[in-house]
């Protein structure tokens, strides 16, 4: 009940959920960051490894292509028409027979070269004489070749280089394979040049082949690339600024690994791969996995928290309910059951039981102390009149004895014992001279005496602990015939405890001495009681008293020394005074 308060601290379940969700969230975030970093690292390694492989593959492929192109060039250089026309042209020029007009031989050469260019994977095919003069050019970029007097540059390599050479013609960079045209006397009669333009077209081809970004640079200047303009600009800066290492570089805020896959003279071809792009895909996959993990973890945490909270809060609620019941029943003595749900709850229960035990012990001591005080008070009251000294004590003993005979429960006996002690507490308000007055009382005095049960009840009402005894104090002068006071109850309307105390009180009064008479014997008292049984006293109580007396005689004999044998000799009860 107490746990269901709408306001106040949150419930245990809420706290458990908060703690476990918080833990899960922190763990997930840490795992995410860790995995992300390690994945990025892994991807970077993989990308670099792939680049290394690509470097080798592309390098080998490039070598292969160049080899094949060279073979192709050498095959083209075996063209008989080309050779015949070139050699004849040279011979006739040597023989000084040329007359300035364009020789049909040159037209033949151009025509042959056009046909060759159509079949070869080159951007420009050129035929040069031994003097280095370009006699014919064909191919896609023949215009650029002619425009920049490439022959002048090629002249410097007027040999048969094993390596490719690099020339710049018409703003285009060409990688050139040069093969000789030879006759069978071993003489070289001219050169066939196959130029491959290192331009965007070439970069794109490499890109499509390798699925890597490619860039071509000559002497630190970017010439062609498949990078985006921003990346290209960054790469240009990187090329210029420092000697390139194999470490990844940032291009347009994206880390790129790169490798050189080939080069001719000052020209370099690079393959680049974005680490971030590759990592993004992997991280997206891992995010998906982590999201699933997160959902799973949250569900687990939810289930775990609910279970745990149940395990914790159920015993506590049980405990709380038990306490509520205990409070409602005002029963402090019954120990709470050990639930066994958890050591802590059991400890709490045990501790509480100890507390309750000590509380009830304290209460018992308090009650004992109360009882002692009340007994003292009652004795003090009794002592106001020497003739009634010890009266309350005796009535109490007698009443309990009667109660035993009547087989009243223990609780009632306890109430009876204390109630009987207190039955005349109301006489505290009666002046001493009235109480001790030896002679007959006036009406006013008599009324004052008759007030004492009401006064006593009023006193007891202010003490909650004595509430059970109010009836005894208030009603111990009621009579079965309804002539008693203060309420005039009849018969069975009078509580049994009040009836018992009434009889015990009367018996003690009869057997006690008074200022004006001797105490009468027990037998007289019984006789007197029997005489009035049914009217003044309840008959069954008197019967019970008769049975109880023999067992009590040695103890309860009051100041009078009269034994039971004198009972019949005793005069009848004193005047109306029976208190």
């Amino acid at each position: 009940m107490t746990l269901r308060r709408p306001h106040g601290p949150p419930r245990l379940l809420v706290k458990a959920l908060a703690v476990s969700f918080g833990t899960v969230a922190v763990l997930l975030v840490l795992v995410f960051l860790g995995v992300r970093m390690s994945v990025r690292d892994q991807v970077r390694r993989t990308v670099t490894q792939n680049l290394d492989i690509s470097q080798r593959m592309l390098g080998a492929l490039e070598d292969r292509r160049r080899h094949e192109l060279r073979l192709q060039a050498e095959t083209l250089a075996e063209n008989p028409t080309l050779k015949a026309a070139l050699d004849t042209w040279a011979a006739e020029r040597d023989a000084a027979t040329a007359d300035g007009e364009r020789s049909p031989l040159l037209a033949t050469l151009q025509h042959e070269l056009d046909k060759l260019a159509a079949r070869v994977e080159s951007d420009a095919v050129a035929l040069a004489s031994l003097d280095g003069e370009t006699l014919a050019v064909a191919g896609r970029l023949s215009g650029a070749w002619v425009a920049d007097a490439a022959d002048a540059r090629l002249l410097k390599t007027n040999a048969s280089p094993a390596e490719d050479s690099l020339i710049r013609a018409g703003g285009t960079l060409f990688r050139v394979i040069r093969v000789p045209l030879m006759l069978d006397d071993g003489a070289v009669i001219g050169w066939l040049d196959l130029g491959t333009a290192l331009d965007d077209h070439y970069a794109l081809m490499l890109d499509q082949m390798s699925r890597l970004r490619t860039a071509i640079a000559d002497g630190g200047t970017l010439i062609a690339t498949t990078l985006t303009p921003r990346q290209a600009a960054d790469f240009q800066v990187a090329l210029r600024s420092s000697p390139l290492t194999s470490e990844p570089i940032d291009l347009a805020r994206s880390s790129h690994a790169f490798r050189e896959i080939g080069g001719v003279a000052t020209a370099r071809i690079y393959a680049l791969s974005s680490v971030d792009d590759a990592a993004a895909a992997a991280i997206a996959r891992i995010n998906a996995v982590l999201a699933m993990l997160a959902v799973g973890a949250v569900l687990l945490a939810l289930a775990g928290s609910v279970w745990l909270a149940r395990r914790l809060s159920q015993p506590i609620e049980q405990l709380s309910r038990a306490l509520d019941e205990m409070a409602a029943a005002r029963d402090l003595s019954t120990p709470l059951a050990i639930t066994g749900s958890s050591r802590e709850v059991d400890l709490l229960t045990t501790t509480f039981n100890h507390l309750m035990k000590s509380v009830s012990d304290a209460e018992a001591r308090t009650e004992a102390a109360y009882a002692g005080a009340i007994r003292a008070l009652a004795a003090a009251l009794d002592a106001r009149d020497p003739y009634t000294a010890g009266h309350s004590e005796r009535v109490s003993v007698l009443a309990v004895a009667i109660g035993r005979v009547l087989r009243l429960p223990d609780e009632d006996l306890e109430v009876l014992r204390l109630g009987a002690l207190l039955h005349d507490i109301g006489k505290i308000g009666i002046p001493d001279d009235v109480l001790r007055k030896p002679g007959p009382l006036t009406d006013a005095e008599f009324e004052a005496i008759m007030e004492h049960p009401v006064v006593g009840a009023r006193i007891l009402r202010s003490i909650p602990f004595l509430h059970p005894h109010i009836d005894i104090v208030e009603l111990h002068h009621e009579r079965p015939d309804g002539l008693g006071y203060p309420k005039g109850l009849r018969g069975d309307d009078i509580p049994i405890l009040a009836r018992v105390v009434h009889v015990a009180d009367a018996y003690d009064a009869i057997t006690s001495a008074r200022a004006y008479r001797q105490g009468r014997s027990s037998a007289d008292a019984l006789r007197e009681l029997w005489r009035c049984a049914g009217t003044e006293y309840h008959a069954e109580i008197v019967a019970a008293l008769a049975r109880a007396l023999p067992r009590l005689e040695p103890v309860t004999t009051p100041a009078s020394s009269a034994g039971p044998a004198d009972v019949r000799r005793m005069p009848s009860a004193p005047e109306a005074l029976s208190a």
């Binding site: 080899h67 060279r70 073979l71 050498e74 095959t75 075996e78 063209n79 008989p80 028409t81 050779k83 015949a84 026309a85 050699d87 004849t88 011979a91 006739e92 040597d94 023989a95 027979t97 031989l105 033949t108 031994l130 040999a159 048969s160 094993a162 390596e163 093969v179 000789p180 030879m182 006759l183 069978d184 006397d185 071993g186 003489a187 070289v188």
Partner: protein
């Protein structure tokens, strides 16, 4: 064979048809560099995919012709027929000189087809392809240089020097040559090699005497 051929050429030197005193030019041709056999590194890879028959290995001197330049010959020019054999995927000899109006035979001694064609302006022709054992003949009526090739085997080449006069010869293997029956006068002696071209040397021929001449064909600056 080649020797015989060369002898034939020499023997074909025209006999003067008018009884006129003539002189002789005699000398030696020196080759200052080996023209053949210098290996050329063409590439890092296997240089050629074509396998060839070995060259007949004729001495380099047989590719040399010694003649007088710009001579106006008076009289009837006799024909000096020659023959260029096609054997082992080569023309042999590689160089011949003939007088204008002479014919040249191209017998095929190889077991496969050959072709003879020329793109030279002096004589543009194509004898077509013909099998082993056949011979085709071409007559050259204009003086000048005729380069001959085979369309089937691109490395084959030969040169025919068609001259307007009979004053020419091929040196012997040792380089010695003799030009007899030359009218007295000032001449330009030419030592010609198919790769080097003409090497000029002025000579004076006196009747009845022998003029000594030395021709040095220079180092080719190619490879």
């Amino acid at each position: 064979m080649a020797l015989l051929m060369a002898a034939a050429v020499v023997r074909a030197t025209p006999v003067p048809d008018q009884p006129q005193a003539t002189g002789t030019i005699s000398g030696r041709v020196t080759l200052t560099t080996r023209m053949r056999g210098v290996p050329i590194a063409t590439s890092a890879y296997a240089p050629r995919t074509v396998t060839r028959q070995g060259s007949p290995g004729a001495p380099e001197m047989r590719s040399v012709i010694v003649y007088l330049k710009d001579v106006t010959f008076q009289g009837t020019l006799s024909a000096t027929p020659a023959s260029i054999r096609q054997e082992q995927e080569s023309f042999s000899p590689r160089v011949v000189a003939v007088t204008r109006g002479s014919t040249v035979d191209f017998p095929n001694f190889d077991p496969y087809f050959h072709n003879v064609f020329s793109l030279s302006r002096t004589a543009t022709f194509d004898l077509g392809r013909y099998p082993s054992g056949q011979t085709r003949t071409r007559r050259f009526d204009r003086p000048g240089l005729v380069k001959v090739y085979c369309h089937i085997h691109s490395q084959m080449s030969a040169t025919i020097l068609v001259l307007d006069h009979p004053y020419f010869t091929t040196p012997g293997d040792d380089g010695s040559f003799t030009l007899a029956g030359v009218p007295p006068g000032e001449y330009t002696l030419v030592g010609w090699h198919e790769r080097v071209g003409e090497q000029l040397s002025p000579v004076t021929v006196r009747a009845g005497s022998t003029t000594a001449a030395a021709i040095s064909l220079p180092v080719n600056d190619a490879p």
